[in-house]
Symmetry: C2
Subunit: 104 residues, 2 copies
DNA sequence: AAAAAGCGCTACTTTCTGGTTGCATTTATC
DNA sequence: GATAAATGCAACCAGAAAGTAGCGCTTTTT
């Protein structure tokens, strides 16, 4: 398992950040103030969360005039997907499904 | 996005726990001492990590005699997968791929 | 040119997390 | 029955994380 796997999942492991990703689902760039609106948190808090997502490669930012616009980076999420696949590959076959069927 | 999504990703967001899941890839139950061996950490530390994985529903345990044996719970990982799909569903089509192609 | 909007950066507080140690308990073994 | 093995539980500690507030800088807006 690669070293950057854990940071990606850690970035996803926060309700606020998941909500942010939800807001970015449209694939369009959004400014920080816009993302802060209705979050119940301060602008700096949201900014920090966006930085974490950026660090993990899940999000991307562009500075346009006086505002920073964030958008999803599909490759990042794709990477998370492939890591999950690595975890489950072993029993992700007929036998694996059989085992999970018997459990509990 | 469901409330239990973040805890699952948070549980995955630690190198030690990812390594533990790696060790459980064979689908077989493993005792704590066994999982501790070669980890460089104390038994209690590993035990705590397993508790986190259990809490997130990624792992399952059975007490057999004097030892607790842990094994993967495929449904948990499957759930993580579906949550990731929720995040990316919107731009997981031809248009989405086109956008990601243009970026950077 | 003055005011306001949008950010970034730093400092600070509080809570969570990962890790340790020590001790009690249950189960195997001799 | 005594000893060793495998856990569970609780207390404790240091560092990271989530949050706030304040200040200064750049870019719009009026």
């Amino acid at each position: 398992m690669p070293d950057d796997a854990a940071p990606i999942f850690a970035a996803l492991g926060d309700p606020t950040r998941l909500a942010l990703l939800g807001r970015l689902q449209d694939g369009q760039p959004h400014a920080i103030v816009e993302l802060t609106a209705g979050s119940g948190l301060s602008r700096q808090a949201i900014s920090k969360h966006l930085a974490v997502l950026h660090e993990a490669g899940l999000v991307q930012s562009r500075r346009v005039g006086r505002e920073s616009r964030y958008l999803v980076r599909p490759q990042g999420v794709q990477q998370a997907r492939s890591y999950l696949a690595m975890v489950s590959r072993q029993w992700d076959d007929a036998l694996g499904r059989l085992k999970s069927f018997v459990e509990d």
